[in-house]
Symmetry: C2
Subunit: 353 residues, 2 copies
Amino acid sequence: MSTIYDVAKAAQVSPKTVSRVLNGDAPVGKKTREAVEKAIAELGYVPSSAARTMRSQRSGLIGLVTGAISLSPLDPAASGLPDIFIVKGVQEGLENSGKTLLISDTGGRSDRVPSLMRTFVEHRVEGIIYVADYHRQVSLPRLPGHPPIVLANCYDDAHTPAIVPDDRFGQYRLVQEIIAHGHRRIAYLTLSDQLDATRLRTAGYRAALQDAGIDYDPALVVVADTLGDDTEAQAECLWAALDAVLALDDRPTVICCGNDRMAMRAYGMLRARQIEVPADIAVAGYDDYRAISDSLFPRLTTVELPYVEMGRRAAERLLAAMAGADTEDAAPELIRGDVVWRASVPALVTGPS
Amino acid sequence: MSTIYDVAKAAQVSPKTVSRVLNGDAPVGKKTREAVEKAIAELGYVPSSAARTMRSQRSGLIGLVTGAISLSPLDPAASGLPDIFIVKGVQEGLENSGKTLLISDTGGRSDRVPSLMRTFVEHRVEGIIYVADYHRQVSLPRLPGHPPIVLANCYDDAHTPAIVPDDRFGQYRLVQEIIAHGHRRIAYLTLSDQLDATRLRTAGYRAALQDAGIDYDPALVVVADTLGDDTEAQAECLWAALDAVLALDDRPTVICCGNDRMAMRAYGMLRARQIEVPADIAVAGYDDYRAISDSLFPRLTTVELPYVEMGRRAAERLLAAMAGADTEDAAPELIRGDVVWRASVPALVTGPS
DNA sequence: CGGTGTCATGACATCGGTGTCATAAACCGA
DNA sequence: TCGGTTTATGACACCGATGTCATGACACCG
């Protein structure tokens, strides 16, 4: 690998002049510049970021820790949408910053986090983004001399800047929209009630009902998913939940599911009971996991989990923090996702009773 | 950030001795070692990989280029399973190598590849893995002084070491298994026929029929997906394909789909025609995209696209190449995926005719 | 025509580690 | 007790950039 000295020799100038051509930080004569550029091209010279980093004390690197890559989408604790889209958002947010992203994966084992963080510090990353696999609280190890950190899809109790989805609002808007389409009996089959998402979305569901003057019926809200990756158990749980709400005297006209995967499963289970979607009953999901929501037949009404936007926002916040902005917020920043209205929830035509 | 000199001063030894403690490459007295370790802990010293890289000429970095993160799973050219699992496999394969993975994403724009590769060379990566979004041929820019490269999920015409899925074998085994369960009329609704995967899998399908002594019926093989991301067009294409095979005099008892997403859509479309899965007709997929295959109801019989294994293998090949092994192969290495047998394809009970 | 800038360029030190070689101290067998 | 080896440690140079400062060549101005 050729160095700046090789280029200097070939172009018969000093290394410093080559540096000036590379960085354009001082005027260089036209003929000199051309000679240097020719030498660079001929030698295939590429500057060493290690040397540059050492001299300038700026690595141009940003570290991202995630479990995204290693977690199976099966993990039911995950909301269902590969949080890899958060990474995509981060990439977008950093696109014009000239920074290079160093991505490390925990392989689902959080005990690896400290070691990954250490690698980042060794590389003198200028900022760190921690991406959680689902909306939850985390607790990060504090390393000496660590750079600014931003949390995405999670929050901690140390007021670290955090970006999370606005789960409450998402479910609120969905139910509001469903009500606007004439529905009154709206079931909500939730994910495990140990998840923040479930707590928040249930609150949104209730608020939407209340704002529409509809009484809350506890019988319509059922936990229909299990933690862990036993899909058989999940299926049984959902089956039982469907049993429960379908057996009600005043049967719901819509079934909201905790995520799109549950909705997909519900399609099949309803069909197995000779219930047509959406003719006999409407189904809605959550996440807008498009591989599912946009390809199911009929296509699924759902709420977008704004992962890309969250990632972008996390990148912005991090760049700001790196620039010295005071980004300490008391509360996590909530990102709203849109309701995506598709064919699975038709307007309710009140038939003859 | 403290340096090795700060540590040396605090421990009252020379920087070189600190280096020895860090790397264990020469004996150090017990008391000296303890003093150094104490100083490291107190100062929170973390060595700079930039300085180490510069001196040792070894960065410990491996670059990975992918479009994985940015491609929507919607992209129908993609086989449907997020190729992010290839990245997971690579991470696994590198786990014990002590290398750090630098991941860059093309954002779906292949014109960015040269710039990403250049960034890799600037960081003096010791090897590069290129991950394609679906099985296909690629053509990579050759950079001066580039390190060993391994291709994953793609191949080129320059004999670059390449790891691809064994699509022919996968479909062969699936159809073989289906035949073993008593089926004779097996439809195959393919992805776009412009994909390598389609060509190879169709060959596998035909080989399995032939080996079982079943005549190939061209009417049973229909292209049922479009390139591009127009899901409406895809749905129409599948609907028409289903029309075609269901209208046949000797109706198929199984429908093999080009991927799991298509199978999922077929579930819905068949139900809309009052056809039960699997009671009236069996459905199989491809990819084992588990968020779909394992959660559909009934659960989907499919073929695993061995992405994790491919990634692991690519990492192994790269490490071997970096160690100087001669890895030039004439042909890409084929990785086989298992048939995953689930409820959507029951054994055919020959009823009274 | 001398003084004063401006422009283009180079010499040199420096960033933080580590390879090489030197050296002092400890050990060991005869 | 002494030469020879091993062990523990340090001095110094070097990896490849770039910041600082110096300098030579012109141009411009009065």
